[in-house]
């Protein structure tokens, strides 16, 4: 069968079905109520009795079709780079010369009283910065030598130096960062964004997740889950080994023509079922089978980095055929270029406790930095040269920070230099997507223990990300268990200080 006939069938199916599907969707959502309030919140009300005229307004609102936000957002898509395990701000961005002077001294009681740490017990010693810092670019941002490439693009970035959380364990803290709640069960930020905005590319999922570092994040797949939103909004984990999307590949023995023939047969049979039952859901299913067929081409295509030019590989430090953070960063660029709304990267291995060489702040952390430095820098430059940085919000961070004290797990001296989990102050940054260039907001005290000004929380970051996409975070809501839920729960403030 020729490509032409493929295309015709697809177009025909789309034309024929879009009206009915979307009508159906609207009917369903309005009448069943689950989305009634949701849609209502976004488009200004949904008449319970559903007049015919009003229905026609929503003919184009299938669950993943691109939708208008509350106002015109500066960003169209988001790339969120999460360093799972929590990178040390004190070795990367939060320069504390005073802490160096205190290196090796007992931690003052005042910093320990009434505080809880994950592993520090008794009286730990202070640990000076284990990296060399310099001021970079016009903005004079402090960036350590651990990130020499990133230092060259400092003027693109807005740093948040006084981020706080109330969770000092990885799982709950990651959940808070991505779902707005430290407990399991809430939708992730990518799911919210896709729910609000739909997808711009009907051949690709709206929300894609890529992981590296050998493990999934501590909180598991819930950090990209749909929570109580319909499952269509959950993050689709694209993998660099095996099928990029689960079950994407046809089994051996079925080639494209046969797959086409079988989907045609399925849909012809479905057409007969539709003729008999007239259930609009059948039409929707036909469209989804066509879409699946298209995804079988479009996903491997976008997930393939072999054909990128040599200079791109050089720039990102990518090696096709491997699993790496660098490859994932390049894929993230390709995905947003194709209209994917939210790309979430998790890189595992940033938990610098000092229990072994891999998580020593002066050894393992340096290596982890090396693996992200070039690709992230390349991402910002590459997006910029393609004119995409203005409309792509790049977010970088972990789930909490690390203590200015050296970890003394169970009261013992550890073999390597490390830092415990710290909730009171850490650094994240944003760039592109309508964020100010070359600024820094928030300050910590002279040893980097407490935030003293410009404090922000996970909810504030979430409010800001939604704001850049065009949403009022207080109005993007979904009714569940008797009340309207939102990503930021009852918290959150847009960090206008870094919004351009």
């Amino acid at each position: 069968m020729s490509k032409r006939s493929n295309k015709n069938i697809i177009q025909e199916a789309n034309l024929q079905t879009s009206h009915q599907i979307t009508r159906k969707y609207f009917f369903k959502e309005c009448f069943s109520g689950i989305g009634a309030m949701a849609l209502g919140s976004m488009v200004g009300g949904c008449d319970w009795l559903g007049s015919k005229d009003r229905l026609d307004q929503f003919v184009n609102s299938n669950p993943l079709m691109a939708q208008a936000p509350h106002f015109i957002g500066k960003a169209k898509s988001v790339i969120y780079l999460h360093m799972a395990g929590a990178p040390s701000q004190l070795e990367l961005f939060d320069y504390k010369p005073e802490l160096l002077k205190l290196d090796g001294q007992d931690c003052p009681q005042s910093l320990l009283e009434g505080k809880k740490f994950a592993f520090i017990r008794g009286v730990p010693k202070m640990l000076g910065p284990q990296a060399i810092f310099k001021q970079r670019g016009q903005s004079g941002a402090w960036i350590s030598d651990n990130l020499p490439h990133l230092a060259t693009v400092a003027d693109e970035i807005s740093f948040l130096k006084a981020v706080q959380t109330d969770q000092f364990n990885h799982g709950p803290a990651q959940l808070l960062m991505h779902t707005g709640s430290a407990r399991l069960g809430r939708p992730s930020i990518g799911a919210w964004a896709t729910y609000g905005l739909g997808s711009e590319n009907s051949n690709l999922p709206g929300f894609v997740v890529l992981t590296s570092g050998g493990n999934n994040p501590d909180a598991g797949k819930s950090v990209w889950g749909n929570g109580f939103l319909p499952s269509v909004y959950q993050g689709v984990q694209c993998r660099s080994e095996g099928d990029p999307v689960l079950f994407l590949k046809d089994p051996a023995g079925i080639d494209r023509d046969l797959r086409k023939a079988s989907i045609d047969a399925i849909n012809e049979a479905n057409q007969l079922t539709y003729n008999e039952f007239k259930d609009p859901e059948t039409i929707a299913r036909m469209a989804q089978y066509e879409m699946a067929f298209k995804m079988q081409i479009s996903v491997p295509d976008v997930m393939n980095i072999n054909d990128e030019p040599a200079y791109i590989h050089e720039m990102y430090g990518t090696q096709p055929g491997t699993t790496s953070f660098a490859n994932n960063v390049l894929l993230a660029r390709k995905l947003v270029e194709k209209g994917v709304r939210f790309v979430q990267l998790f890189d595992w291995g940033w938990d610098s406790h000092g229990t072994d060489v891999k998580n020593a702040v002066d050894i393992g952390l340096v290596n982890k930095c090396r693996s992200i430095d070039k690709p992230i820098t390349a991402l910002l430059l590459d997006l910029k040269q393609r004119g995409l940085l203005d409309e792509t919000l790049v977010v970088w961070g972990g789930e909490f920070g690390r203590t200015p004290m050296q970890e003394n797990r169970d009261g013992k001296t550890l073999p390597f230099k490390g830092r415990d989990h710290h909730t009171e102050a850490f650094t994240t940054w944003m760039a592109g997507g309508g964020i100010k260039q070359g600024t820094s907001f928030g300050e910590t005290d002279e040893i980097g223990y407490s935030a003293i000004s410009g404090k922000v929380t996970a909810h504030d970051m979430q409010a800001t990300i939604l704001n850049q996409l065009g949403f009022d975070h207080e109005k993007l809501v979904y009714p569940f268990q008797g009340r309207s839920f939102r990503l930021t729960d009852v918290h959150g403030r847009v960090i206008n200080e870094i919004v351009a």
Binding site: L258, I266, E268, R285
Partner: protein, 918 residues
């Protein structure tokens, strides 16, 4: 009923009079305002966000009548019953000053809305009870006679008492009910609904061949009697119980709790009355002399998450689990979203902040403390140990009846024991991995408030690494009196249970441990690690030969590892009970005043004589006066059969939930369940599926699309996509692969590589063999952080918290799943083989046979044509590319025709007709 005695002719006369009455002004003005239908929605929309359970601006709240009628901060009374003109609330609606006029900073109420409120106040400002909070009463069946004035019999469409409720509304909306579906359709529908999979062949055949009136009822009875019935309904309950085979959070290690799943299957199969079913799950351990099964039932609330991540606060996650038990109890068993009352009074419904914590106090006294071993659990001993257990019990019963209960409980559950993770004031030691007290040389720690009264023996489970350890226990402080000096035997790194005699001591004391070991020179070296302690007395008849013999059994059971553990609920003994505080704004660290266990006042108090614990709560919950329990389960069963609840929000019957489409029917069915059916779910299901409403054809007619696209009126049968479990079970059934094996540990069917990647957890997915890879979906190992992919893509939930309902979606990932997942490819291969075995030759006949096996009916000529075309295309292709034949059929000797037929079976498995309950 009074009406029943009135001759119909008078009713007819009355009916003629109604329009006359309606026309009179007198009638309109005196019509009582309906608080629930008219006033409450207005208040919820316009007032309650500032004057409700969360905010009480100016001290005024409209949630409870008593509060609304009280004097406010301003010194004025907002509502004076009978006097709208002087009621401050009404005055405020008319003002012009934007600071004073209500609703504050929002558009004013319309004149109609204001006059409604005035009328309501003038009529006495009566608060109506929300429908769902009123106890269920017997509901009369609506009369739906035909002919003039409805006097001439009932419509022939009606089959049982459900139908008049439905029929009345259908007629009122100008629709016509659909006729009864054809037999194969009905067979398939009722099979999925009752047993979650296609009917066993014999039952199906019998039904299709029986043309008598009672054929359908026989079918229903037979399906209800199959063991697969229990599996289907257990699957539903597992969503509510948030059943999973792992503990959740970072490490997400395995948990052995499948005996609870098996308990569910059996409970459904024996049709355990729903009130008992709930009582055993909520409080089985508190029943007199609980059986093992009753203990296992309590695992319902041990499906909460346990956090093993290093550095986590055990009390925080213990508290989180208790909170989850409260929320799950309400949302799954009583259709009420109680979670918001955790932080403040319910914004819309009559539940006060304090009542949340009173209810939480009912759950707050269980022994579980987020320990690594998930104590307490019930040990089911195997082989010879099960005989020892029997012998021990028998001996204790005869020789030491006063000790029997306590010692058997210790052997079977390890309780009561004190977990070492409660230790504090630790010096030279730590909570290892925050789970076990560990002391180094010269280490010290305290265990608070231990009641030593009446105990002369101490059991302790510990590990040590070197000989020479000395452990001192002092009372109250390190310098306090020495209770005991213990020489710790080197356990060489293994867990060991040891005993030591202790002197008689009265009262509660802190136990302060001091550990010394001269053989340990390195200050960082671990000396001893404790798991638990238990205070007891010497074994009965200690020292006598028969006592020795019994003790041997006791001792080997105590040390046995030959058992299956199931986490269960057990309450603390009274000398260890916890006090419960209100958490201010829901924060567990900010403790407010102490509360005593109780249930919310607005739903009737605990029944007379009910204890203030989980058992009393279960008695209250299953009391016929509880307005929510029966309604919630009836609504849920209806949702399983019809694809949507009578109240669509299964999880919220409150004033913010969606109002029921057929409130009277819901009341009628709830009454039936509790009274006529005596809480039998099988009888309830049978009544529903025997209705004409259920048996209707599900085709959409024109009226359906324009007037009732979502079938809220039920003028046609239900048509919904099958669940994740049903889709898998169906594919395995038609292919003949399905294993009928029931119960046992969860299994590992085919799953793509790389799904499991939890940090600090080396667990691997190892494909099950010997037919276990073809078990029903509910037996699939459920890992919370990485659930089985096809479960997720077909709208399964992660089982982290209770999912009161699944939201159905329709996505391309589902298409990819059923096209390309090895499970479905293998099913299609075997499906084709099965057809060829039955019809060795003739492609046309093979195709029609395949269709018949899938749907129990004859293929239509149009469908035949579609699949024959696919068959021919595939046949041509496989003849050309013969190397693909083995790849696709999985058979070395496969030929092009079997490969082509496999393309057809794949297609059938993927049709809308196959994926949907028609």
């Amino acid at each position: 009923m009074i009406l029943k005695r009135v001759p119909k002719i008078y009713i007819v006369i009355l009916l003629f009079l109604v329009p006359v009455l309606i026309g009179s002004r007198y009638f309109i003005n005196n019509k009582q305002v309906d608080f629930n239908a008219e006033v409450k929605p207005l208040i919820n929309k316009k007032c309650i966000s500032c004057h409700g359970g969360v905010k009480r601006q100016s001290g005024f709240s409209l949630l409870f009548r008593q509060e609304a009628l009280a004097v406010n901060k301003s010194g004025k009374v907002a509502i004076i019953p009978g006097d709208a003109e002087n009621s401050e609330m009404i005055k405020r609606l008319y003002l012009t000053d934007p600071e004073e006029r209500m609703p504050y900073k929002h558009p004013p109420l319309s004149n109609d809305e204001i006059s409604l409120l005035k009328k309501w106040i003038n009529q006495g400002a009566k608060w109506g009870d929300h429908w769902a909070y009123v106890p269920v009463e017997e509901t009369p069946i609506p009369s739906v006679g035909v002919g003039p004035f409805g006097l001439f019999g009932k419509p022939s469409w009606i089959k049982n008492n459900i139908d008049p409720f439905i029929y009345k509304k259908i007629k009122a909306e100008g629709l016509t009910p659909a006729s009864i579906a054809d037999k194969p359709t009905l067979l398939r529908r009722v099979s999925f609904d009752i047993i979650g999979m296609p009917a066993p062949e014999a039952i199906a055949k019998k039904y299709l061949q029986n043309n008598n009136e009672d054929a359908y009822e026989i079918l229903v009875n037979e399906l209800l009697a199959t063991p697969q019935y229990g599996e289907k309904w257990a699957g539903l309950w597992m969503d509510m119980a948030r059943y999973a085979d792992t503990r959740g959070f970072e490490k997400d290690d395995s948990r052995t709790i499948w005996r609870y799943r098996d308990w569910l299957i059996n409970a459904f199969n024996v049709d355990k009355p729903y009130n008992i079913f709930l009582t055993e799950q909520l409080a089985g351990d508190l029943l007199p002399n609980p059986t093992d099964a009753q203990y296992i039932a309590t695992a319902f609330h041990r499906n909460t998450l346990t956090n093993d991540e290093g550095g986590t606060d055990n009390e925080e996650f213990r508290t989180a689990a208790v909170i989850d038990r409260v929320n799950t109890t309400w949302v799954s068993l009583m259709g009420t979203t109680f979670a918001c009352v955790q932080c403040h009074s319910h914004p819309y419904d009559p539940f006060k902040h304090e009542e949340y914590y009173k209810f939480l106090a009912l759950f707050n006294n269980t022994r579980d403390e987020d320990t690594y071993a998930e104590y307490p659990f019930l040990k089911e001993f195997h082989n010879t140990d099960s005989i020892r257990l029997f012998q021990l019990q028998d001996w204790l019963h005869k020789n030491a009846p006063s000790r029997e209960k306590d010692l058997m409980r210790f052997i079977k559950t390890g309780q009561t024991a004190i977990n070492s993770l409660v230790a504090d004031q630790i010096i030279n030691g730590a909570l290892a991995d925050t789970k076990w007290l560990m002391l180094r040389n010269k280490g010290e720690a305290r265990i608070k408030d231990i009641d030593l009264t009446g105990s002369t023996l101490l059991y302790y489970k510990y590990k040590s690494w070197k000989p020479g350890g000395k452990w001192e226990i002092h009372l109250d402080s390190a310098k306090g009196p020495l209770l005991k000096n213990i020489v710790v035997e080197n356990s060489k790194g293994d867990w060991k249970i040891a005993t030591t005699a202790i002197p008689t001591t009265i009262g509660k004391h802190h136990l302060v441990f001091i550990y010394n070991n001269r053989q340990i020179n390195n200050p960082d070296e671990n000396g001893i690690q404790y798991d638990w302690l238990r205070l007891d007395n010497p074994f009965p008849k200690n020292g006598t030969p028969e006592g020795e013999l019994a003790y041997n059994n006791f001792d080997s059971l105590l040390h046995s590892n030959n058992y299956t553990p199931t986490p269960i609920m057990l309450d603390n003994p009274s000398n260890m009970s916890r006090t419960t505080h209100i958490f201010e704004r829901g924060n567990w660290l900010v403790k407010g005043k102490v509360v005593v266990p109780d249930v919310p006042a607005s739903l009737g108090g605990l029944p007379a004589g009910a204890p203030k614990n989980r058992l009393g709560m279960a008695m209250w919950l299953t009391d016929k006066k509880n307005p929510l329990t029966a309604r919630t389960i009836v609504n849920r069963i209806w949702e399983q059969l019809f694809g949507q609840g009578i109240t669509e929000t299964l999880e919220d019957f409150g004033t913010q939930g969606i109002a029921p489409t057929h409130e009277e029917l819901l009341n009628y069915l709830s009454w039936q369940l509790m009274n006529t059916h005596q809480w039998s779910l099988k009888k309830m299901i049978k009544e529903m599926v025997m209705s004409a409403t259920y048996q209707q054809d599900s085709k959409f007619n024109k009226d359906a699309i324009t007037k009732d696209p979502y079938n809220k009126l039920y003028a046609r049968g239900p048509r919904v996509r099958l669940s994740a479990e049903q889709i898998r079970d169906q594919a395995l059934t038609v292919s003949g692969l399905l294993s009928n094996k029931m119960n046992g540990p969860s299994v590992y069917p085919y799953q793509p590589e790389g799904i499991w990647k939890s940090p600090y957890n080396g667990a691997k997915w190892i494909l099950s063999t010997d037919g276990d890879q073809y078990r029903r979906a509910l037996y699939t190992f459920w890992k919370r952080s990485a659930p089985y992919p096809s479960m997720l893509s077909f709208d399964g939930t992660s089982r982290e918290v209770c999912a009161a309902r699944r939201i159905r979606t329709n996505t391309p990932l589902q298409a990819l799943n059923s096209l390309n997942d090895s499970v479905y490819i293998e099913a299609a291969q075997h499906f084709a083989k099965r057809v060829i075995k039955m019809v060795p030759q003739n492609a046309s006949k093979q195709i029609s046979k395949a269709y018949e096996l899938a749907f129990n009916k004859t293929i239509s000529p149009d469908q035949q044509k579609v699949f024959e075309k696919l068959y021919q295309t595939a046949l041509t292709r496989y003849k050309q590319d013969s190397f693909r034949i083995e790849q696709i059929t999985g058979n070395k000797n496969g030929d092009a025709s079997s490969a082509a037929l496999m393309m057809v079976t794949t297609a059938i498995i993927n049709t809308d007709e196959f994926l949907t309950k028609n």
